[in-house]
Symmetry: C2
Subunit: 445 residues, 2 copies
Amino acid sequence: MHKEKFNIGICGMGTVGGGTFTLLQSNQVEITRRLGKTLCVSHVASRRENPLFDTDGIRFSKDVFAVADDPEVDILVEVLGGMEPALPLIMRAIENGKHVVTANKALIAVHGNEIFAAAKRKGVTVAYESAVAGGIPIIKALREGLAANSIHWLAGIINGTGNFILTEMAQKGRSFNDVLAEAQALGYAEADPTFDVEGIDAAHKLTILAANAFGIALQFDKVYTEGISKITIDDVNYAEELGYRIKHLGITRMTDKGIEIRVHPTMISDQRLIANVNGVMNAVVVKGDSVGSTLYYGAGAGAKATASSVVADIIDIVRSSGDESRGNPGNVPSLAFDSLRTDIPILNIEDIHCEFYIRLSVYDKIGVMAQISQILTDHGINIEALIQKEPDSTIVGDVFVPIVILTGTVEERQMNKAIAAIESLEQVVEKITRIRIEQFDGEDN
Amino acid sequence: MHKEKFNIGICGMGTVGGGTFTLLQSNQVEITRRLGKTLCVSHVASRRENPLFDTDGIRFSKDVFAVADDPEVDILVEVLGGMEPALPLIMRAIENGKHVVTANKALIAVHGNEIFAAAKRKGVTVAYESAVAGGIPIIKALREGLAANSIHWLAGIINGTGNFILTEMAQKGRSFNDVLAEAQALGYAEADPTFDVEGIDAAHKLTILAANAFGIALQFDKVYTEGISKITIDDVNYAEELGYRIKHLGITRMTDKGIEIRVHPTMISDQRLIANVNGVMNAVVVKGDSVGSTLYYGAGAGAKATASSVVADIIDIVRSSGDESRGNPGNVPSLAFDSLRTDIPILNIEDIHCEFYIRLSVYDKIGVMAQISQILTDHGINIEALIQKEPDSTIVGDVFVPIVILTGTVEERQMNKAIAAIESLEQVVEKITRIRIEQFDGEDN
């Protein structure tokens, strides 16, 4: 039997839900021409009444579970966000044999393993392209476009708010707090900005990217997460002076000892393409053993960009369903691999090796550099570059001199010990600022 | 019946064929883990004898048609290049019910319509991700990742040799001929570099991208094609002075009057990401109505990058084949749309509107600028920027002054008339150089 029309149920009519609804209407002709079949929003659930839908012949419910139980609905779109009631809703939809499309990164990062297992048992697809990097088809690139590769590493600017803040600091010399306040006013940042600026949102997305890159289970609890709230304009300026930019990156890398999964401010050469991704835009660099470095860039958030990925997932499901609406397993495994590896540990942040930028403030006393150098040497750390500015001669009283050091590659554990030792020197007056530097194999991208 | 092993036949053991063979071997474990099924090279055809394959239990033929006729082969990989015998080989494979993966951009651009029609009749897939931009999964992005969008335009650096030449000219001040000679020595450019530097290779790829962006038939013969061989170091330097870079772009755009499909040197703001794509790398910017601008970057050529896409296509075919090896239509239409539009004309280059850079050389005579300005005004052309350098005072005899003008947006037909009129002035001593400028909607990307 040829099925010519697929019914979509949308749960949640906030930014992404509204954007999805609008996109399915506005591009209906073109989408039908692509598919040879029609997508039809048949049921919408939202806490708020919306008479628009009723007049359009679309069923409207205040209870999202009514969509999961609606026998007319082929594909349920979950765009509520959060864990409750998104998790039980998705599980109910799966149980009822419906395909699911979700933009819920936190839910997938934390509960994806059980969701995908349930979907596999029922032979339905749970698609989540929109959960990572908004409109950029990065999940598709990882799972399909680069499927011939062993992925070595990936690194992404995957939180637009954080990138907006760092861009404004770098381009206009504004302070972190100043830009954050503007981002909130513009609606980029949540009222509680913790998820954005402390890296939790990026950690959710990186969890999903890492699983798809390496074929491992989702392991959000093992991601090292550090935000950008401690980055100062001084750091931004020193970075520029040294030929670097500071970006808030999610990085995951396969090493001999295990997998790194970490979110933190990172200094990268200003010659790299990803260093020039500015404002609210997102980008992900993926290094595969065969393809080399590839980069994917676009809008990481917003109603229209996110809806682009939600609807692309719907189209994928319909295309792979053939003539059947339901009960047909997706062609592509949820986490890119038919069988996941369980033999690779996620590394502790202390086990990673990288170069470091450290900035410290010292009393202008003879001999302090010698002591610092000795401590670094004792921990096997080379000094690759050093900036020591003259003290400000107009200041009366105690004079602090800022010192900036770029180190060679060192195990983070050793760096921590060295920093503790340096901080214990009496001439060192503040907590040391430390920013990891990434060279990414030295490749040009 | 579960089919656990898929047999691959490779026709052509040059750069891409060898790379594909090697990749299928080297990443066999990981690919099997992704697929849950095994890919096995069972037959190789190459003009040259290669004892390697026989010893490996792989059938070897000097006649490529033996692969198309081999009942053991599920998927035929055509990496011969050129039209003969690639076209009859692919048609034979389709006739025999085999899926085909090809890296042959010229063949798809010129004969794709008949190839895809034959594949549709037989219910097999002809995949060609590797034909455009090497390892970048741009066909997948257009056909699937951005499937919810109406595509407004796309623009790409899709010939690595051309980009290498322009990058070296810009960064090192070298001449076109000097860099071309090096590119040939390095093996980037063909011995006959016409396909690269005259834009024919890019036109093949752009033909394929335009068809996938808009859902139109492949129309290679309607692509406007202009190479980079007339770009001088002066133009590169003036562009830099004006805040632009010169890139050899393939551009296709949907307009009210029809579709633009054009390959030519283009001046773009040096602030754009794509202006910073250097060396042999490729990148494509795609503007969709919902997603906004997205960019895809990576290696556009080379054995390993191209093989990455060839093998990704094989994996796609196996995933969408389910338990059947053959006779199963692909889920995604060959040219992105289930039904192609035939109602949109491809515009003549004279019908496009854009800004222009023009460089001319004049005798240092009073009044010439007034005449030029009058001609531009008469053709409705605004002067947006002007560079008129002082004549070189050390030169004895006739003194030529270079003049560079950036115009406002104008129909190319009017620009051509204005250029002809200016060239007819007796004070204008050389043919005018003209480079199109693209602002891409003014968006930051």
